[in-house]
Symmetry: C2
Subunit: 110 residues, 2 copies
């Protein structure tokens, strides 16, 4: 029974990739999660998730060129596949649909 829904952290990582565009890589994603949610995550957690997402065909990756900065290993850059984008959109649409049916809860947002 292949699971079709995204895990919570998987979805978050996909969103960060969409957000970071051409410069989405492990450490950068880790930082962006902190920035966007206040949540601290271990770098290993991010990479494990990226690797799972790639296996499932939701993202793809390639090695970036070395930059002129200090030094350090080359980045592995990630982008969403069409499938990954679709999964993200569907996940959002489902939730929006449910939220609109719970206006009581929505009111508390404002």
């Amino acid at each position: 029974m292949g699971k079709e829904s995204l895990g919570e952290f998987e979805e978050l990582v996909l969103l960060m990739i969409a957000l970071l565009k051409e410069d989405a890589y492990g450490l950068g994603i880790c930082d962006e999660i902190k920035k966007q949610t206040g949540r601290t995550t271990a770098i290993g957690a991010v990479h494990a998730t990226l690797s799972r997402l790639e296996t499932k065909g939701l993202v793809e990756s390639s090695l970036g060129d070395p930059t002129k900065e200090r030094g350090g290993r080359r980045k592995r850059l990630f982008t969403l596949t069409a499938f990954g984008e679709k999964a993200l959109i569907q996940s959002r649409d489902t939730k929006v649909s449910i939220w609109t049916q719970i206006p009581e809860l929505s009111i508390k947002t404002v």
Copy 2:
């Protein structure tokens, strides 16, 4: 390190409880998930999650009165705690905030 974020299925179950109001119980939640998302879930999965959510203080439960219908065991009725409601709202707000930063993706919704 206590985890603060909701799992994907945990969030879905919380949403169903908010949606079903006074009549949120295991089997009903299971049916509502099917109705709202098209996704089929085993009843055991729902109850396991409900039980975890209760342990974590996100929901509380009480036994319902027997109804006049055919027969069958009494329902265990679930409601969100204030903490559960807060978690749900925060989870939504975080995502909405991120989505608004990715207009490219939003456009594909329509």
